[in-house]
């Protein structure tokens, strides 16, 4: 078990934020940082996943492990995330269908576009296995499967040159912005909510920065120097979010995706804002950690078990939405939903660690 550290802390923080933001309309939504900027917790989550790949594919001494082992490690992780996605999707569909039956309310079947599944299960079940059928709010894990699946390419290139890995990634990113590349949804028209061709950049960026951070002090020095700029970007983000000023996608010049604030394509404005957030808030952990030990413990435990916590968070937020829907919401219900969710997520993280502890300490039968 890792000691508390900044990566796990921020990951836990991102998980909590995603959980709250996935119960739309709830009172606490407006207190999450996602409401006060252009980018949100999804960016943080993917970036930290990349950073963690950097850690995971190196030994304790910081030297890269043999390339073959890294590839197998990432493959194993891909399988794990894929399995989680299938489980979460099945449970989500069952919860939606079950609620519709129990409450005698077919409206619930339309929840997060699940209606497509119930109307056309034959194609949808194939799409589910192919990851091309996604429910609203259940679209981060498919992205994650794909990103970790292609991560070996960047990790191997990174063994030769981190700069080359980053250049490759930026190239794919810019090309998909200019040509509008994305993976299709199926069944049904449209594309993935998180465009993997664009979002891979954050993963690779996390991976590359982790490598540079390990190698020398230059990155940290620059981060300190650029801190004021980060603060300015964050303030600008707050201003834009609060005043709801954003570019009109019909009026910006071609290629449009270079100029809009679109989440699907992680457009440059979002990326820039995220980097600003990173610069402004990264130093915060060192200040906070000694003061809020308990919270740090709680968040880092979640961060260490992010896949389990994320999966459980998706399910709990769906249940939370159903509870809000059926009861009509309100501050009390929201407190109950968010409170039990936070306890549930904390328990999930604890449970996973308890299980692995008790497994390793006892001989397997």
């Amino acid at each position: 078990m890792r000691d508390p550290n900044a990566i796990d802390f921020w990951r836990g923080f991102a998980l909590i934020t995603i959980f709250i933001n996935h119960i739309p309309g709830n009172t606490f939504e407006r207190y999450t940082f996602s409401q006060y900027g252009i980018s949100d917790a999804a960016e943080l989550f993917v970036f930290l996943a990349g950073w963690s790949i950097g850690i995971a594919t190196r030994g304790r001494d910081g030297n890269p492990e043999p390339p073959g082992r890294s590839v197998v490690r990432l493959l194993a992780r891909t399988v794990e995330v894929y399995r989680a996605q299938l489980t979460v999707m099945l449970l989500a569909l069952a919860i939606i269908a079950g609620a519709a039956l129990l409450l005698d309310n077919p409206l619930i079947l339309e929840w997060h576009n699940a209606g497509g599944f119930f109307a056309d299960p034959i194609q949808s079940v194939c799409g589910m296995a192919l990851l091309t059928y996604q429910l609203g709010y259940f679209n981060i894990l498919p992205l994650y499967v794909l990103l970790i699946g292609i991560a070996p390419v960047f990790v191997l290139v990174g063994r030769v040159s981190l700069l080359a890995a980053l250049a490759l990634s930026v190239g794919v990113y810019l090309a998909s912005l200019i040509f509008g590349w994305n993976l299709p949804s199926w069944p049904g028209e449209g594309d993935w909510f998180f465009d993997p061709f664009c979002w891979q950049l954050l993963l690779v960026l996390g991976f590359v920065l982790q490598g540079w951070n390990l190698r020398s002090d230059i990155l940290r020095r620059w981060a300190r120097r650029l801190f004021p700029m980060g603060v300015v970007i964050v303030l600008l983000g707050i201003l834009l979010a609060v005043t709801e000023i954003r570019p009109d996608p019909m009026l910006v010049p071609e290629p449009r995706l270079l100029f809009t604030f679109e989440k699907t394509y992680l457009t440059p404005a979002r990326l820039l804002h995220f980097l600003g957030v990173l610069l402004a808030f990264a130093p915060l952990y060192r200040v906070l950690a000694p003061r809020i030990g308990r919270i740090v413990g709680y968040l880092t435990q979640m961060g260490r078990n992010s896949l389990a916590v994320f999966s459980m968070g998706s399910i709990l937020s769906l249940i939370g939405q159903l509870v809000r829907f059926q009861t009509g919401g309100g501050v009390l219900i929201d407190m109950l939903v968010a409170g039990s969710g936070l306890v549930g997520l904390g328990f999930t993280a604890w449970f996973v660690e308890w299980r692995s502890r008790s497994r390793s300490s006892r001989p397997r039968t």
């Binding site: 309309g25 309310n105 339309e110 049904g188």
Partner: protein
């Protein structure tokens, strides 16, 4: 060439017991030279197996159950089905003889993989607008209009650059118990934005189902969609009202293993395409010829919006 068609269409509509103020429709139609649109009434009527000009239709023994251009199970009186308004951009596309590009947003495919909602809508519109090539882009729009989804809509519209957006709206916000005023203002802003780019909008309000009939918030969301449609001067498919009407009809025959509400829901999905197509066709008939200044304030809807029961 156009003249005889108009006359035939008018006569046919009269005979078929066309319920929505035929005289007015004809007058507008004649003024606008709307031969193709009017001719479609014959076509749609005949294609959907409506007896045109039969003695039974002239002297109906039972009151007309609904608009006769709809298939039997989907028939709803016009007043309970739609609110019409001008569709200038669609009209312009038709006048220029170019393919009509529609972006259909929201809603799932109808039950049965063979005839999904976008496929059915395309077929229904191509019946209603012969010689017009209709292409439909169907997109799901996850999330709430009041938070985020309206943003995504803008990008979708910018990508598709359609002539018309058919938007099933309100369900997600209703489910999320979003504040109604926030929903209404976000929707009004989004509709206004689409229209500011010379793209027409047809709104479709949420479904009717018995367990939601007494739900105050839900009815306020349905109401908000209507209010926005009226204020913004866009046609509205009043799905809530239509399904409420259909639910009140005696349903004989087909049962549903999951119960009555699920049967009604299936029916609603099956009828969606027809209801949308009829709303578009009717709105087109009432639309004046293009080249008029687009900046002219939107016409008030021609039928009065009705309040949802409950």
């Amino acid at each position: 060439m156009a003249q005889p068609q108009q006359i035939v269409a008018t006569a046919d509509m009269m005979r078929a017991g066309y319920p929505v103020r035929p005289s007015r429709a004809v007058r507008t139609g004649a003024a606008g030279g709307l031969a193709p649109a009017l001719a479609t009434w014959i076509l749609t009527a005949s294609l959907w197996g409506i007896p045109g000009g039969s003695a039974a239709a002239e002297q109906p023994t039972i009151p007309a159950p609904g608009d006769p251009t709809l298939s039997l199970e989907c028939r709803v009186p016009g007043a309970q089905l739609y609110t019409v308004a001008q569709l200038g951009a669609v009209k312009a596309a038709l006048a220029e003889n170019r393919p009509l590009k529609i972006l259909a947003i929201g809603g799932s495919a109808a039950p049965g993989a063979s005839a999904s909602y976008p496929a059915k809508l395309e077929a229904a519109l191509e019946h209603a607008l012969p010689k017009v090539d209709v292409t439909i882009d169907h997109r799901g729009l996850p999330g709430e209009i009041a938070s985020g989804a309206a943003e995504r809509l803008r990008t979708m519209v910018a990508e598709a650059e359609p002539d018309l957006v058919v938007w099933q709206v309100g369900t997600h916000d209703a489910i999320a118990r979003v504040d109604v005023d926030a929903f209404a203002s976000a929707l009004a802003e989004a509709v206004g934005w689409i229209r500011s780019h010379e793209i027409d909008v047809v709104l479709v309000d949420p479904i009717y189902t018995a367990s939601m009939a007494a739900d105050v918030d839900y009815n306020r969301i349905v109401e908000a969609v209507r209010t926005v449609a009226t204020q913004q001067g866009v046609p509205l498919v009043r799905r809530y009202e239509a399904l409420h009407y259909l639910s009140s009809r005696t349903d004989k025959g087909e049962g549903h293993m999951l119960g009555r509400q699920f049967r009604l829901n299936d029916l609603g999905l099956r009828c969606m395409a027809e209801h949308v197509a009829l709303t578009i066709a009717t709105s087109l008939m009432r639309t004046e010829t293009p080249k008029e200044p687009k900046a002219a304030p939107a016409q008030p809807p021609l039928t009065e919006p009705q309040r949802a029961p409950g």
